[in-house]
Amino acid sequence: MSTAPRREVLEKLTPVLTKRWLSPEAWRLDVYEQLDGYAALRKALAAHPDDLIQLIKDSGLRGRGGAGFPTGLKWGFIPQNDGKPHYLVVNADEGEPGTCKDLPLMTHDPHSLIEGVIIASYAIRANRAYIYIRGEAVNAARRLRNAVDEAYKAGYLGTNILGSGLDLDVVVHSGAGAYICGEETALLDSLEGFRGQPRLRPPFPATHGLYASPTVVNNVGTIASVPYIVLGGAAWWKTMGTEKSAGPMIYSLSGRINNPGQYECGLGVTLRELIELAGGMQPGHNLKFWTPGGSSTPLLTAEHMDVPLDFESVAAAGSILGTTATQLFSDQDCPVYATYKWLEFYHHESCGKCTPCREGNFWMVRVYRRILSGEGTFEDLDTLLDTCDNILGRSFCGLGDGATSPVTSSLQYFKQDYLDYIEGRTPPKLSAKQLVGAH
């Protein structure tokens, strides 16, 4: 039974980026234009590019791709008058387990992303922009390509855009199924036609990005926020969210609630409030564990329902805000099994470049299989923690670090669930056959 949220909780909703999704044809240029579309572009092109960078700095906008890096600062790192081409690359690879906010945005409001791309390119003085979209996202890519074509025909892309002197070409580039390509330097290698493997940093993309030129890589949600800031101003943007985590954020709720879905709220909303918005927990399900921002962010528990979901508060609670992919699991779900499935994922997606991640995930998957088939030992738990020690901070990119998150956090909060398998109180979840087949 779905319960109705109270008024004060409803008021946490901040429909900004999601608002046009209600208009079923907003993906069409003519409809988009009727809904404020490309008004921000006209306004931005009348301003100085440096003033736009300052505006984004003033707004406090932070990256929506997981790390929360200040966007204006990132744009400001691009060297000017260096004689090199500059690039804007939109990270539309959305693959972090649990994350499902960028695909609907590109499907239902693709022009808002393109408008943001044009404004951002103007600000950082880029004449080429790429949208690297996850290969499997065929429906979003179709709408996006259609929107790019429409934008060219209407003079929003191409040469001398709206008479401003700005030239910009945009290419929608489909990936081919590799989570690691969401990591920004792996994405750049992939976009250059190589295997998607992360690069050593420094140098950073701001100076040596795509084709060794200054490059900004931003998430879809980050770039799609830009037109709203240009229109409404930095002060308005900051009326949402908290002082250090400003603005609205799309929280993606999945799992054991009555109404899973996308809920755009000011940063700092709590899980308790989100659950209320989502009509409560499903009957017979009590919250047991959840990810605040995808599987790479340490699990939290029912104790953490009042943690404000902003960058600082989630970090203080021992996790990471990440992509605000809030996956909710109940007392009917097993944290050991959940972690095992995530590790299968990290093992499969490890690019193989560095040993701790490649080998560590391989071994941890085997340990989990052993535990879940009732053949685990107490040492296995130490092995898991040791392996995580060897991966965290020692792997080449965030994928390795992320893989340790569910392991260490589930062991921290749910050690008993592990012991129940090892000591035979929980029946094996995997059969001996699966164990053999797995080798």
Binding site: C100, N139, E192, L253
Partner: protein, 231 residues
């Protein structure tokens, strides 16, 4: 030995290469691999050779890239690629049963094609649709909230020559036709782009706000952009 490919394919390859800066043609490799997959349903040695020839790089270089990415198939595929999400969320919501049942029903495992050549099955990682879980896709178009019986019914329709309508997104096309789109070409069906409305989970939050008259106050599109003082 030069591979024989049609003029149309060569023209398309040229178009792909032209999207990237002249001295950066290698950027065209991923779309080119999608393109050759559109010809044969997988990336064959001939396809690898074609990409190498177009870009002036070695076959080994192309092969190393092709094998890195899940969506490039090394063996022939059927017209219908059925992918079941078995990542954690879909898994606990029933995705594992869906996959296990399809395996049993079709008599194939991961990345295998049925004896009648109609369906290629695979399990997939999180498909960015957890709010619709458990999900499966046919040629990457979504079928939401599936269960084992529904999934069996779906593959049986496909085998019977039907094209069931996905829950969201465009009506089905074959995997080869989809690979052309992945290579960056527009869907040539006018209805392809128009198909598909947002599902309820996508709209839930914004609809709640609308129903209760909630919007963000103080939005004034005329708010001036502050100009910095001249340095």
């Amino acid at each position: 030995m030069t591979v024989q490919y049609s003029d149309d394919l060569r023209a398309k390859a040229k178009e792909i290469v032209a999207r990237y800066p002249a001295d950066r043609s290698r950027s065209a490799l991923l779309p080119l691999l999608h393109l050759v997959q559109a010809e044969e349903g997988h990336v064959s040695p001939a396809g690898v050779e074609f990409c190498a020839e177009v870009l002036g790089i070695t076959k080994a270089q192309v092969g190393a890239v092709a094998t890195f990415y899940t969506m490039y198939k090394r063996r022939p595929t059927a017209d219908w690629l059925v992918s079941v999400c078995t990542n954690t969320m879909c898994n606990v919501l029933g995705g594992q049963e869906v996959y296990d049942r399809l395996t049993e029903h079709l008599g194939v495992g991961h990345e295998e094609t049925t004896a009648d050549g109609s369906i290629t099955l695979e399990h997939a990682e999180c498909l960015a649709a957890c709010d619709y879980g458990p999900v499966m896709t046919v040629n990457y178009e979504f079928f939401d909230k599936v269960d084992a019986d529904g999934a069996v019914g779906l593959v049986e329709k496909l085998r019977g020559g039907e094209r069931p309508m996905p829950s969201r997104g465009a009506r089905l096309c074959t995997l080869k036709e989809m690979a052309v789109q992945l290579a960056g070409f527009a869907d040539d069906r006018p209805e392809g782009v128009a198909d598909g409305v947002a599902g309820e989970p996508t709209l839930r939050g914004v609809r709640l706000a609308q129903e209760h008259g909630i919007s963000v106050p103080g939005f004034d599109p005329e708010t001036p952009i502050k100009a910095q003082e001249a340095k």
